[in-house]
């Protein structure tokens, strides 16, 4: 049933001078789901990410996108195929306006990106679509702001709007809520939920609350290898996961914290239904 998988890796390995950062990973991302990749620090999450988006080249193994081998394609080519990534640090163009940020993504399909003899006024026809996208993430009022002046959470929202401008089939989000305050986290989590319609999302995330709330399937990485997979309830009950996260002495306090996260997540899901 490989047709159900948008993205698949087979025996993916990445070695750095004798150190194996990613060890024989078989990852399968099902179409239309939100798939989370979690694991303790140094588990190889970001390396997997960089392999998938070709910012790194795998040592061995294959990466399939819709059944097509993309293992040795270049990053920009992958992006044109419909896999667009975000970065751990907010990836925006800081000294351009918010509108221009989105427009740069829209511009690619116009085919005029090498036209140095034309006035940039030809890009104004993209403004309406750019504003629409900004409106979707609640940034319409900031269209003419210089991006560097936006608060952190809004930069994330802008990054998502820019990514959506490419209308990607698949989004790869690298720690979308990292370094955010509580309020921003829930705004961004809602945003991810909203944009996941008709799309497949693979995200690396530290915030278990967000993972519990969003992810349909979770893959836990440890020391570069897959420890276990499943939905949040299964994964969070797995003693190996607890051990990987908390060390051997997983005490009650941490177990309680996880229980609380689960409860909160369930409550959030109920809210969604209501």
């Amino acid at each position: 049933m490989s047709a159900d998988y948008v993205l698949e890796t087979r025996n993916l390995v990445k070695e750095f001078k004798g150190f194996t950062a990613v060890d024989d990973v078989n990852l399968q991302v099902e179409r239309g789901t939100i798939h989370a990749l979690i694991g303790p620090n140094g588990a190889g999450k970001t390396t997997v990410f960089n392999l998938l988006t070709k910012f790194l080249t795998p040592s061995r193994g294959t990466i399939l996108y819709n059944g097509e081998d993309i293992t040795y394609m270049k990053s920009a080519a992958i992006a044109r195929k419909g896999i667009v990534r975000s970065f751990q640090i907010s990836a925006v163009f800081p000294h351009l306006s918010v509108l221009e940020n989105v427009r740069i993504a829209l511009q690619r399909k116009e085919g005029n990106s090498f036209h140095f003899w034309k006035s940039e006024k030809v890009l104004q026809k993209l403004d309406a679509r750019a504003l629409e996208l900004l409106d979707e993430v609640g940034l319409k009022g900031y269209a003419n702001t210089v991006t560097v002046d936006l608060p952190y959470g809004r930069k994330r929202a802008l990054e998502i709007a820019t990514t959506l401008a490419l209308d990607p089939e698949m989004l790869l989000l690298d720690e979308p809520t990292q370094g955010m305050g509580h309020e921003d986290v829930s705004v961004v989590a809602d945003l991810i939920k909203k944009v996941s319609a008709n799309r497949t999302i693979l995200m690396v995330e530290h915030n278990l609350h967000v993972v519990a709330q969003l992810a349909d399937k979770i893959t836990v990485l440890q020391r570069g290898a897959i420890l276990t997979e499943g939905d949040y309830a299964t994964v969070s009950q797995d003693p190996r996961v607890r051990e990987a996260y908390m060390g051997v002495e997983a005490d009650d306090e941490v177990a309680n914290a996880i229980a609380a996260e689960t409860a909160a997540a369930n409550a959030a899901k109920k809210e969604d239904v209501a």
Binding site: T53, F55, K74, S75, A76, A77, A79, R80, V84, R85, S86, F87, A91, V92, F93, P94, H95, L96, E100, R103, I104, A105, Q107, R108, E110, N112, S113, F114, H115, F116, W117, K118, S119, E120, V122, L123, T162, L166
Partner: protein
Amino acid sequence: MIKINKLYLFLIVIALVAPSLVYPVFLMKLLCFALFACAFNLLLGFVGLLSFGHAVFLGTGGYITGYLMLHTGLTPELGILAGTLGAGLLGAVYGKLAVKREGIYFAMVTLALAQLAFFFYLQAPFTGGEDGLQGVPRGALFGLIDLNDNFAMYYFVLAIFIFGFWLVQRTVHSPFGQILKAIRENEPRAVSLGYNVNDYKWVAFIISSALAGLAGSTKTLVFQLASLTDVHWHMSGEVVLMTLLGGMGTIFGPLVGAGVVISIQNMLSGGELGNYIHIIMGLIFIVCVLAFRSGIVGEFQKLVKKNFG
């Protein structure tokens, strides 16, 4: 926008009457270097690429134009066109190699390639080696206007400069320029949006080197001389100084920078301080880097923004 247009109008009027007030050859020298600095600024200021071998394009343009004017009797506009295309072609080859590297490595690759060309020009028979190409005829523009008249030559150079300046502005404010700015701002993000950034850098490099060649070709006609000075790495350093002093990434920065540097050199070269010219330029450079990093125009813009913005 209207304010900017008025400023342009004002500058053009000044440029038109200037040769009646100031020695035209000095003005032409200034315009040539201003064009060279504008071309360089396109790369440094708008793509974030520090080329440390840009003199090679200035010199190559000069040698090609000089050689053709001396030996083939081409009209000056064709001679300049050939020099520009030649420099652009060399830029295409050098750029292709250089854009694969980033930061200091990019600077080193461009410097190494430029030195390669320097020693080639030193040995090659058609450049006249240490003597250079002397007595290059200015010819008659389109076969009609005699350019030996300094006034006619000045207006020809002014037209070339305005074209070059316009082209840089157009490039910066074009769909292509948008992508260049995106690359300067956040290269990995530009890649993740699907842009082959090296191709964009390469095209910018070609435009910049062709314009540097245009400046060199024009300069050769003005001074009727093409020499090793123009390909020497000192010249590559000088254009960095002009751009930083004037304000990189600004519209008028390179112009102001070239004006200041050329004026100081002119003032000093005749007098007793002539021997200390490099020391003085070095000091200016140090002060610029330490005290006003955004350059004269950059600092001025900040001041205006702070007080009137």
